[in-house]
Amino acid sequence: MRYAAVLRYAKTVLGLFFTAIMLFPVYWMINVSFTRDNDMRADPPHLFPWNGTLEGYRAVFEQQLPYLGTSLVVGLGTVALTLVLSAPAGYALAKLRPKGGGALSFVLLIAQMIPGIIMAMGFYAIYLRLGVLNTVGGLILADSTIAVPFGVLIFTAFMSGIPDELINAALIDGASKWRTFVSVILPVSRNAIVTVSLFAFLWAWSDFVFATTLDGGGDAQPITLGIYHYIGNNNQQWNAIMATAVVASIPATLLLILAQRYVAAGVTAGAVKD
């Protein structure tokens, strides 16, 4: 009995050790973001930002706020577009089951596998002709292609689990299909809505491929390009670069703290069938 308790304790210690190794790069990013410029190349490197500085963060506030604002708008726009497109589609595929629905699901699965860089090239050719390069709207549209197929898959899987009795009751009460969708299906699909929104936001916020190809020359550029320009300018102000990286990681961190359950569900949803 004592032996088992010690073993469990040892496992916790080992788990902490593994986690520490895995998260070391994250710690290092935070550490460097507080390190003074002239300590940056110190030998040995400062393992902890003793005598640190907030200069990096000051640089973020002075230079990166517009980029962060753009990313916020792009992220929210992508969430809205993704929900509007994928929730009704999920309902139709899960509950109305029209002929050809299976083929559509198949197309969506395939669509998820197309490399973003290739989509970006096609979008570039189209946007150039239409004159919508370097616009926020264009970037939102392109970013939504990352999330929409995933959204439909999640909504379809979730709504399949809603009991038919609930829908039939609404229909017997004389509600139309649309009415049923809006006032019965959507309210009980809260979990799916949260999952899809979280991922759509995170993917749009993190997107670099579409940003660099479609929005590389605009006035309103997202934070991923803000960081990229920092690195490219070769100013070697690594505390500012890492401070921006820390700020850019906030949405992911919030997500993990506030909605860990949904995150794990989203990761496995595509891969494992229950």
Partner: protein
């Protein structure tokens, strides 16, 4: 009485049939936005990309849209390009090595975390962080950690007596560097999916194996591993599809260099189209389409496999 009931049943059936007929249209009304969306924002860009790869583009004809049709010339040029062989090899190495390590480490951690100990759920959640961070964040952090002169990695190697390595600036090490960073990013996905696969294995099987006197290693190789095979296959195939298209990480860390040492199809294609002042959209699109074919091959395998499981 009985006729009344049967007629009632019949009208019920009729309305049901009418409703289903109309329901068909209602269903497609719900699906109309997504169908239009798929045509406009998936099919059309892909068609444009195919078109790009079959024409001879210059910057001017790209804007005006009157480039001459050149058949498979772009594909021939790409295949004949001396960079083709290395790019293909790097794509293969990057994908296979990344996935092998991600899977092995992910599986080991999944088995470890499956033994419920204090904090195991919290620590498992923390493991998700690398997967959730924007790629540019991970890529720039790794760039600084792998810096030749002041990087923490070379410093740590120095402590155990290893000479500093030019991780990102030497052609011998650039590909290894981006693979290391990519393994780090991919471990969480493998861990989470394999962990949920482990949860689906009933404990009774382990109890039976323990009663039969199986030790820990036997339990893993004789029970866990075979029963986890379907989930493993799905994880590996999805990993293949994801890893083939990795572009951001490599581009941010090395731009495919030095001297093409870490160029994969994804970065090669981007460099053709956007990497210089004289874009070559034709070859860029051609390489991109080759990449799609590779991704679709594994993608279809994945779908086939998943259908068979269901």
């Amino acid at each position: 009485m009985t006729t009344e009931v049967s007629s009632l049943v019949r009208t019920r059936e009729n309305t049901a049939r009418v409703r289903r007929g109309r329901g068909h249209w209602t269903a497609w009304a719900f699906l109309a936005p997504i169908v239009i969306y798929l045509l406009a924002f998936y099919a059309y860009p892909l068609y444009r990309n195919l078109d790009l790869s079959l024409r001879h583009y210059t910057v001017r004809s790209f804007v005006q849209g009157d480039a001459p049709f050149s058949g498979l010339d772009n594909y021939r040029d790409v295949f004949a390009d001396p960079a083709f062989g290395p790019a293909f090899l790097h794509t293969l190495t990057f994908t296979v090595v990344s996935i092998a390590f991600q899977f092995a480490i992910g599986l080991a951690l999944a088995v470890f975390f499956a033994q419920n100990f204090r904090l195991s759920a919290t620590l498992r959640a923390l493991f998700l962080v690398p997967w959730l961070l924007p790629l540019i964040v991970s890529a720039s952090t790794w760039s600084w950690m792998l810096n030749s002169d002041s990087g923490i990695v070379n410093h740590a190697l120095g402590l155990i007596g290893v000479d500093p390595v030019n991780w990102l600036t030497s052609p011998d090490w650039a590909l290894t560097s981006v693979i290391i960073a990519n393994i780090w990013i991919g471990i969480p996905f493998n861990l989470v999916v394999l962990y949920s696969g482990l949860q689906a294995i009933p404990c009774e099987i382990y109890e039976a194996a323990a009663l039969d006197g199986a030790n820990g290693r036997q339990r893993f190789w004789r029970v866990t591993f075979p029963l986890l095979r379907p989930v493993s296959a799905i994880t590996l195939l999805l990993g293949l599809v994801y890893t083939l298209k990795v572009f951001d990480l490599i581009w941010i860390m090395t731009k495919g260099g030095p001297a093409d040492a870490s160029t994969t199809f994804a970065t090669w294609s981007y460099r053709f189209s956007f990497g210089s002042l004289l874009p070559e959209f034709g070859p860029g699109a051609a390489v991109g389409n080759l990449l799609i074919l590779m991704a679709l091959f594994f993608g279809l395998l994945y779908i086939r496999f998943q259908r068979r499981q269901a």
